[in-house]
């Protein structure tokens, strides 16, 4: 299953699941819950960290953490 790390710049996905004990509670507090959307805004030079829009929260996380969040990629290229 694709993860947040597989998104390309500007692409969006809906969170499916993640391993609960690996993910920090903080990330959940910011809205990282199944069903919410994540958009990849920018990838830093050297491909890490990732700058994402997590259902309205703009945050940067490292690739290693992004790989733990599984999602379903939404193709909304036509709406944008």
């Amino acid at each position: 299953m694709p993860t947040v790390a597989d998104l390309s710049q500007g692409q969006r996905g809906i969170i499916k699941s993640f391993s609960e004990d690996m993910l920090p509670v903080k990330l959940m507090e910011l809205g990282c819950l199944p069903g919410n959307s994540i958009e990849l805004i920018q990838i830093a030079p050297l491909n890490d960290p990732l700058y994402i829009n997590l259902s309205g929260s703009h945050i940067a996380i490292r690739r290693s953490l992004a790989q733990l969040i599984e999602l379903e990629i939404v193709d909304d290229s036509q709406t944008l």
């Binding site: 920090p24 920018q42 830093a44 050297l46 929260s57 703009h58 945050i59």
Partner: protein, 745 residues
Amino acid sequence: MSETIKVALVGNPNTGKTSVFNQLTGLKQKVGNYPGITVEKKEGICKLPKGKKAHILDLPGTYSLNTTSLDESVVVELLLNKKDKDYPDVAVVISDVENLKRNLLLFTQIKDLKIPTVLVINMSDRMSRKGISLDLDLMEQKLDTKIALVSTRKNQGVERIKELIADHKNLSTLPNLNASRIAPEYFDRLQKAFPKEDLYKLWLVITQDVNFMPIEKKRIQDATSFATKSKVELKKLQHKETALRYQFINNTLRETYKVDLQAARGLRSSFDKILTHRIFGYVIFLAILLTIFQAIFDWSTYPMDFIDEQFANAGEWIKNTLPPGVFTDLLAEGILAGIGGIVIFIPQIAFLFLFISLLEESGYMSRVVFLMDRLMRPFGLSGKSVVPLISGTACAIPAVMATRTIDNWKERLITILVTPFTTCSARLPVYLILIALVIPKGRILGLSYQALTLMLLYLLGFGMAILSAMVLNKILKIKSKSLFMVEMPTYRLPLMKNVALTVLEKTKSFVFGAGKIIMAISIVLWFLGSNGHSEEFKNAETIVTQRIEEKGLSDYSKNYIQNNISTYVRSTKLSVVDQTNAVGLKSLQDSIQLMTTELREKARAQEIASYKLEHSYIGYMGKAIEPLVKPLGYDWKIGIAVLTSFAAREVFVGTLATIYSVGSDEEETIKNRMAAELDPSGKNPLFNLPTGISLMLFYAFAMQCMSTLAIVKRETNSWKWPLLQLVFMSTFAYLVALTAYQILK
């Protein structure tokens, strides 16, 4: 009768909590620390309608009551402890209209503690731009609270907050939701075990240290005996609780919070495209740093020269006005000289804090973290280490505290250990005066040599920090979870009021904090410098007079007289013919005669003074350490200054000012006094290039700050790390300074 209502401001980071605090309290605020820990405590007084008053406490920013850091646990501990003297009568939760959803998570948690709670929705000025519309009445009903819609930028809605605080008795104290639903059985047992306690509070106490790093928290004693669940299970329950809260919040917002995406326009994305660009991003960052250094060096010289002169004048005034005596000497030579040594650096320190607070207020700092993270990682640091390293250029103390945002313990420890290498504002006085003395004035490509030297010194400190981080990363064997998360707030025009208050407050605490030490050291130094027990000291006058009679004045004094007279002659219009404004040959010779006698007398007094100083208490102390500092190119006076600098670096200039002014009649600026000092041979200036460079390098690397050592002890909870810093950094500094001097001399 005026009652004081106790108010606690709570909220997520980046919601403008501090702006609200500043609006409510104005200048009536006090910044201190929570007892025993280094979390900053801001409090202030606010006048309310109907003659009431409120005591406002600005709590550290937090995303929730599930604590992961010391800052956050301050919030939780206060809200859980009814006996605390600051326990609020009313909690004011500050939220940001754009991020209302996640801000409400904290709100519902506080509400569930049954504390009367007001919700402030801040940044309402952005609503139209973002296409947001709110149904406040319905929201108040659903959240069972009172809401104030506020824009601190436009100064709207602050009165409403005051009214709501004054009216706090009418607020509901019912919880928003019942958290025990996440594990009914577990909570049932909990209630049976502690029938008198509030369930949600118990839950918070039990989960308090689930997410803590090992070092940051002493365990809570009571109630933990009931922690029959493992950490993993508790964490799962926290996830469940969070999900439950979001369910409630989503339901509430569905009907009350509308976003019209068509109307939404954002500056963030277009700014981010440039500022986090893989090339332009770094170019801009470097340009910003360059501007800062240019400002600190070039722009601040004008106010500094002015201050320097004022202090020289003040000293002269005191000496001329007050009756001569010990007290006047102490005032003019001890205290005033020492204080002058710190006040003069206010312009530069203010500039530095101005830039740092502008970078933070505008939201740019987070972008720097984003840009730098991957680059810092090979050195065992994180992108978040950049913030401490940058704010370390102001002061290592807040910088070490700022490492708290780094969630990975190893990265955090390394950051703490290397931060003192960055050039803090206390080094600045030392650098500036030495650069002015030993580096020539020319320019290259529009940048002055002096500014470039300063920049080089900053880079040197930064480079050393990175280098030692790399070494530490190899040596330290610490396993810790790697977490990294940075919020990227929207770009905002910094609020001038906030920036001004930060600059004012930080500069004030720097001056007074350092001022106290400097004052004490100045008095002690003055005493040690103007007293002595040896025969030489007591009979200085006869000994020196005798010496002058036998051998004449010293070479230095002869030069001094010669120079003065030739300057005088050159400046006088000479004419053999009688003429207004001109001086005849005869009268010139007379006046030269007179002047020579006067200058000889002055030189004699000067020689007595320096002889006395050499044989005073401090003279003996200085001579004792001279063998140690001589290979670095320092005389015993500099040695004393370096030694006192171990209390705090900024003492250096003040110390030299005090030592040099003891017994001197001429009130000179500090710089001129230092420039006039001669090396032991009595021919060349003491502060020449090799000595200057050696001193600068010593100050660049040595760990000379007791306050930093204390803070590192506190943050790492052990003496091991600060002692390591002290020994390693200072030895290294000595060796580098030694090598540099031996090569250059």
